[in-house]
Amino acid sequence: MPTTGETPISATGLTKTFGKTIALNSVNLVVPKGDITAILGENGAGKTTLIHVCLGLTKPTSGQISMFGHSPGAHPARLRTGVMLQDADLPDLLTPREHITLFASYYQDPLNLPDVIDMCKLAKFADKKYKTLSGGQKRRVQFALAIIGNPDLVFLDEPTTGLDTQTRRMLWGVVRELAKDGRTVILTTHYLEEADALADRIVVMHGGNIIADAPTPQIRAVAGGAVITCTTVLTVAALKSLPDVKSVRKTGRFVQINTQNQTTTMKSLLAADPQVSELVIKKPSLEEAFDRIVQTPQQNQEKA
């Protein structure tokens, strides 16, 4: 992929070691303009280290990286970047309005303060001291700081960890709006649901390696086939013997049938048990795809 000064992130062979721990192992990543990319992985997979390297907060041990054609942490790159970091808190004694006003002054063309207060639903507590806010409210203020500068590139490091559903949906909504306007969003998460709901592209990290990197539907397709959920009189063993069935799981009165080919499996299921009911057919979840990818990192890495 050709990279220019307009390419938000272009990294090759990024390696970072902390003593004997390899946090990043020769990572290659190019993020073009205007995508939502989710970096997915368990704790310790290297997601945060990768983000810190992109921001210039951590120097890579080796490898090349450029942010909009600049080295990470250079002022021109920072002017185009907004961040929401994990484990990073703001001073207690300022109000959200004061925090956001201060941050707006760092950027050349910031968004309107009232707009951001509205977008992030801060109005109710915009003039309370930061230390009196709840955890979810604090995260909303931190998110507002990430977007106030009207940046071309927004990093969100586990933005919704520990958030209530309502705040999470608000945040997702704003992220979608940002991407619609041609901005680039990178978010790390260990919620598959979040990556699935938001991202155009999913990068799966495991043990400092990128073990999969593809558009979201393609990652989901790794699991293949479909999942049939129903209640039936048939035994698990009988279900397993149906054509194209990969696995069967019983949960309460339901059974979940993993199939490679929903049509053939359904036909024979209905033939074997005409009384089958409460039938639902779903595409496999990202979670199943993820389990499969992480279980076979070697093979996927060769594919990638």
């Binding site: 210039g56 907004g82 961040v83 808190d89 001073p91």
Partner: protein
């Protein structure tokens, strides 16, 4: 670009002032303690006379500016670093210079607020007579005195967590004051302690201030204020190196 960083600087100053004013439990002791001590030792103690008040005007002025500098930077920076705030700042286009610059501005404001009541007591209550130019010279010196203590505060702020920084800042603050001869003149110290006192910026700055107010030197030695100033300059350079080293070390 210029107006952008200027705007950021003014906003940063406003934020620093608000933070300080909203934490009166930290700021009040650093403002009130020096003038209270000055009143106590210059007037309330027996055999305190104008010469004592003159002497203590010089040394308590240095003491008064130490608090805002050491605590503002030592505890303030440690706290904001601890909670990850400095990490967000470093990732954002916040100019580092305006963050430090705003903290220096606030330190100077609070240093002058700590100094002025001492000057008023000295001038009106103790009837100390100084030429107007000497008052300004004294004020200039006392304000300049914040510099080495800011650098010490920065080094502490970059080196300790927020709890540790409170403890260490207190030790450094009290040590600099007591051993630098700001409370009791150094000539009352045993000889080895007198030698040690000379290695402290608080002592060297007090010597220059004493020369300005026309009081005798702490150790009774022949006074050469320019030499004291040179020593302070060298100490400041060393402390700046130390602060830069501490800053680099905590970055990764």
């Amino acid at each position: 670009m210029q107006t952008l960083s200027l705007n950021a600087f003014f906003n940063e100053c406003g934020a620093e002032i608000l933070k300080a004013v909203r934490a009166p439990e930290y700021i009040l002791p650093t403002l009130i303690l020096p003038v209270a001590f000055y009143a106590l030792f210059a007037f309330a103690m027996p055999n305190s006379g104008t010469s004592g008040a003159r002497y203590l005007l010089a040394t308590y002025g240095v003491f008064a500016v130490m608090g805002p500098a050491i605590f503002g930077f030592g505890v303030g920076v440690a706290n904001e670093r601890d909670r990850g705030w400095l990490k967000i700042k470093r990732a954002s286009p916040a100019p580092a210079i305006s963050y430090i610059g705003a903290k220096i501005m606030v330190t100077l404001i609070f240093a002058s607020l700590a100094l002025i009541p001492i000057y008023l007591l000295a001038g009106f209550r103790a009837q100390i007579v100084l030429a107007r130019s000497d008052w300004f010279l004294l004020f200039g010196l006392h304000m300049l005195s914040v510099l080495p203590f800011i650098l010490i505060g920065l080094t502490l702020g970059f080196s300790f967590g927020s709890n540790g920084a409170v403890a260490v800042s207190n030790i450094v603050f009290l040590g600099m004051a007591a051993l630098g001869g700001l409370w009791l003149p150094a000539f009352l110290f045993p000889a080895p302690l007198q030698k040690f006192a000379a290695t402290l910026p608080s002592y060297q700055l007090a010597e220059i201030a004493l020369a300005i107010v026309g009081a005798s030197s702490q150790t009774g030695a022949e006074r050469i204020p320019l030499q004291n100033l040179n020593i302070v300059a060298i100490m400041t350079i060393i402390l700046a190196g130390l602060a830069i080293w501490a800053w680099r070390r905590q970055r990764d």
